[in-house]
């Protein structure tokens, strides 16, 4: 029997470009053509100025650790204790993620530490953006 897997996202028409991006190992954000606001999660209009003229672009994948918990209870697809983190992307938006290649301890997980995106393929359709300590 297969191990229980983590919850799998199901794209919608408005978020498909994001998941197409992660499948190609790109972290894609959106920027308003009018006011230049960069935002997440995906939607086909600018939540700052309501313009429908927005563009998708490839983010740097650089981020810092904004906050987190280290969860000690069992969840399908995870081995406790594991950190549930919120990272702040260099482009401004924040997103939830997990921190990999790093001990899941308060000592190792320092707020504001530099991170970079790491892609984890779940299946042919879904690749998740995770983050690891930045190299160098």
């Amino acid at each position: 029997m297969a191990e229980p897997a983590r919850a799998r996202p199901k794209p919608t028409p408005e978020t498909q470009h994001f998941w197409d991006g992660t499948r190609a190992n790109e972290l894609r954000l959106q920027r308003c053509d009018g006011c230049a606001h960069v935002y997440f999660p995906p939607r086909p209009f600018c939540p700052a100025c309501a313009s429908r003229k927005v563009s998708v672009f490839k983010a740097t994948g650089k981020a810092t650790l904004y906050s987190y918990v280290i969860h000690h209870r069992p969840v399908p697809g995870f081995t406790p204790p594991y950190a549930i983190a919120v990272v702040e992307l260099d482009e401004g938006p924040r997103m939830m993620s997990n921190i990999v290649d790093c001990p899941q301890t308060p000592e190792a997980l320092e707020l504001d530490m530099k991170l970079e995106v790491a892609f984890e393929k779940l299946d042919d359709n879904i690749t998740l953006p995770l983050f690891r300590p930045a190299k160098g």
């Binding site: 919850a7 199901k10 987190y68 918990v69 969860h71 000690h72 204790p81 594991y82 939830m96 308060p106």
Partner: protein
């Protein structure tokens, strides 16, 4: 101060609180409603306005056998009942109805007839939070707290004191679930749930319910119990995704709802005799004290650690024991409102002597929503 047109004339919790395996969720609604009806000396047929959350208004109204001309099914999490009070006050003032019943019940522990809450894999939460291992509120609600602590210089010991002080209040309350005194060391040595929070910093999981009855202040004098007037109200929502809050060192929903209520009431913070801040987890009273404007966030931890909110302190806070020690069925806002009403009636188990103004502040979801009600027992 505002001369307020609406009052609470009936208030009651379910007959039992805690573990109630022999009563379904819908019947807990009815039990609370019947107790509130009796408290107000009314008949069910007197009710012409009805509000509830999670369940639809039609489900509970039909179960009770009432025919409302005004309904509100606002369901924004545990503070939904604060929003119901606000909306009901406006509806009564506008003449849409005369006597409003608000019910809450949840079989949170025993899970009998409980309405399932599902997050679809194609919702925004399902796509951008669920895959990262979030499950219970304990896995998400504390996510902002490390940032709050770093920004404002708050210590683990100070947040542990929230639980210690609320246990002191609970010890005075015969209906509280947890009454045994605890120390900061007990809190910091209790079982880790989601670092930095341990089990004694997480709310209880219990069964129960509560109901309120509101009518115009002019009619309120004819009721058997001392009327409790609604002096000011506020509400807001921010985001269902904790990761998308504007900032983690404050709650936007709190910052909008709280000051709205203070402005409407026309009072200042020094006028407040009694305070309830929905404490699903131990950091919420700190956010509340700061965002409602009682003090800068930097001072909230030391304010609690210094004993200002404990029995005999200058700002009695969460005097029923709170979600940490009194009870928490899942949507605690109703119980915070019940304690404010008891304090204003002068009948609380840990009564604040001479209290005239009570502020009751609620949260919904993980900082997703907020509602603030300011009560007074003087017209």
């Amino acid at each position: 101060m505002r001369r307020n047109p609406v009052a609470v004339v009936g208030a009651a919790e379910t007959t039992e609180l805690g573990v109630i395996p022999n009563v379904s969720q819908i019947q807990l609604h009815a039990d609370a409603a019947l107790n509130a009806i009796a408290d107000a000396g009314l008949k069910l047929s007197d009710i012409d306005g009805f509000a509830t959350a999670v369940e639809t208004p039609q489900q509970i109204a039909h179960y009770l056998g009432i025919t409302p001309t005004w309904v509100d099914g606002t369901s924004v999490g545990g503070c939904s009942f604060m929003l119901h009070v606000r909306h009901a006050a406006a509806a009564i003032e506008a003449g849409l109805c005369k006597t409003v019943l608000i019910t809450h019940a949840e079989s949170g522990k025993s899970n009998i007839g409980r309405t399932p809450r599902m997050i679809g894999p194609d919702s925004l939460n399902g796509q951008f939070e669920l895959p990262y291992g979030v499950s219970t509120p304990a896995s998400t609600f504390p996510i902002p707290v490390l940032r709050y602590m770093k920004t404002h210089g708050i210590t683990h010991e100070q947040i542990a004191m929230v639980a210690v002080v609320q246990r002191e209040w609970a010890a005075k309350n015969p209906r509280a679930t947890m009454k045994t005194p605890i120390t900061v060391e007990d809190v910091l040595n209790s079982r880790m749930i989601a670092y930095p929070f341990r089990i004694l910093q997480c709310c209880l999981v219990t069964d129960g319910g509560g109901a309120l009855i509101l009518t115009s202040a002019d009619r309120a004098r004819d009721f058997p119990k001392r009327p409790v007037y609604i002096l000011g109200t506020g509400e807001s929502v921010e985001t269902p995704m904790v990761s998308q809050m504007q900032t983690f060192d404050s709650s936007r929903a709190f910052r909008v709802a709280g000051p709205l209520a203070f402005r409407e009431a026309g009072i200042s913070h020094k006028d407040v005799d009694h305070l309830m801040i929905y404490d699903a987890f131990a950091h919420l009273p700190l956010y509340g004290l700061g965002d409602l404007g009682f003090m800068p966030h930097e001072e909230t931890g030391q304010f609690i650690a210094d004993g200002n909110t404990r029995p005999g302190g200058k700002l009695p806070l969460n005097t029923n024991g709170g979600g940490l020690s009194y009870m928490h069925s899942g949507m605690y806002g109703m119980y915070a409102l019940q304690e404010s009403v008891r304090q204003m009636r002068g009948i609380a188990p840990a009564q604040v002597p001479g209290a005239k103004i009570s502020v009751c502040h609620g949260v919904g979801g993980m900082f997703a929503a907020s509602g603030t009600i300011i009560f007074t027992n003087e017209r």
